[in-house]
């Protein structure tokens, strides 16, 4: 059996979703593309259920923040076809004000904690998640610390000056 390559995966998914799949690239050989929050569950479901592709393993869900973009908040999905030994990365960009995206917990139970972590650090709301509360940070935290508008440093620090840290 021929090894499934990135181009074959991209052809197959473009045939199904057409214009909804944008900016395909292959940094370091990892097929990466963007889609929209309306399509993300359809794309993930297709990749998981398709008889040939069989992207059956959700490696990670994480977030990213590019404040200079019009859609600054990104959600990044890494999925892996254990059968074909192929990985892909899917990005969805959202607006800064109340970013929301459908939850992938219907497809993978393992998305539960990943989405809680992404909510905890980026404030991305996963609609349909069974228990979207903070997972790593203290419960009474009011900020989303990985967003660029919040300072990385603790405000109570007294002995740490920026010049010690090369800033």
């Amino acid at each position: 059996m021929d090894k499934l390559n990135n181009q074959a995966v991209l052809r197959k998914i473009t045939a199904r979703f057409g214009e909804q799949i944008t900016i395909p690239t292959e940094p370091a050989g990892l097929l990466t593309f963007e889609t929209s929050k309306e399509n993300i569950l359809g794309v993930l479901g297709f990749l998981k259920e398709d008889n040939e592709l069989q992207f059956n393993y959700l490696t990670d869900i994480t977030g990213i923040h590019y404040p200079e973009q019009t859609l600054p908040i990104g959600v990044v999905y890494h999925i892996h076809s254990l059968i074909n030994n192929v990985r892909i990365r899917i990005k969805v960009f959202l607006e800064a004000d109340k970013p929301a995206i459908p939850s992938a917990t219907k497809l993978w139970e393992g998305a539960n904690w990943m989405e809680r972590e992404t909510y905890d650090f980026f404030g991305i709301i996963f609609e349909g998640h069974p228990n979207l509360v903070r997972i790593l940070n203290v419960d009474d935290m009011t900020v989303f610390p990985m967003r660029k508008e919040y300072p990385l440093e603790d405000p109570n620090r007294v002995d740490k000056k920026d010049y010690f840290f090369g800033r």
Partner: protein, 180 residues
Amino acid sequence: MSDIKLVSAPPGIEGAGFFATALDKAVGMARANSLWPLPFATSCCGIEFMATMGSHYDFARFGSERPSFSPRQADLLMVMGTIAKKMGPILRQVYIQMAEPRWVMAVGACASSGGIFDSYSVLQGIDEIIPVDVYVPGCPPRPEAIIDGLTKIQDLVRSESLRRRESPEYKELLGKYGIL
């Protein structure tokens, strides 16, 4: 014959069949040489403490024969390592559960000031949540430094007035931390 050194008696008046000294000097001497430490070890400073407890440095020489892993029976809370903000309330509860008199030693840069962790998730020194008696610098400090910290604690214990824990200053100190 082993060479066992005993603590000398506090200054007092000695005569035939009696010895008189101040009560808090006698109590201080007894307390200073039987401190039961509670090791609250969260990272690499804890490893240094294990070396301090071991046979080579032998913490027990100073009367800390029994590390107490229950706060109820401990006299000295030794906080060794990075305290993340999520650990803060737990550390505070451990301190509250200790019976008076109680002392606290912050071992290492992280417990003293947050250390290298200039971050939203790390407590910038345990003195934000509990009062600290002795700080031991180092990243991590060597066992000699931890022993030096313990002898500083012993000095505090030995000279502490019996009434200190009832004093308004002490109550005000605890009140500042919201304890009591």
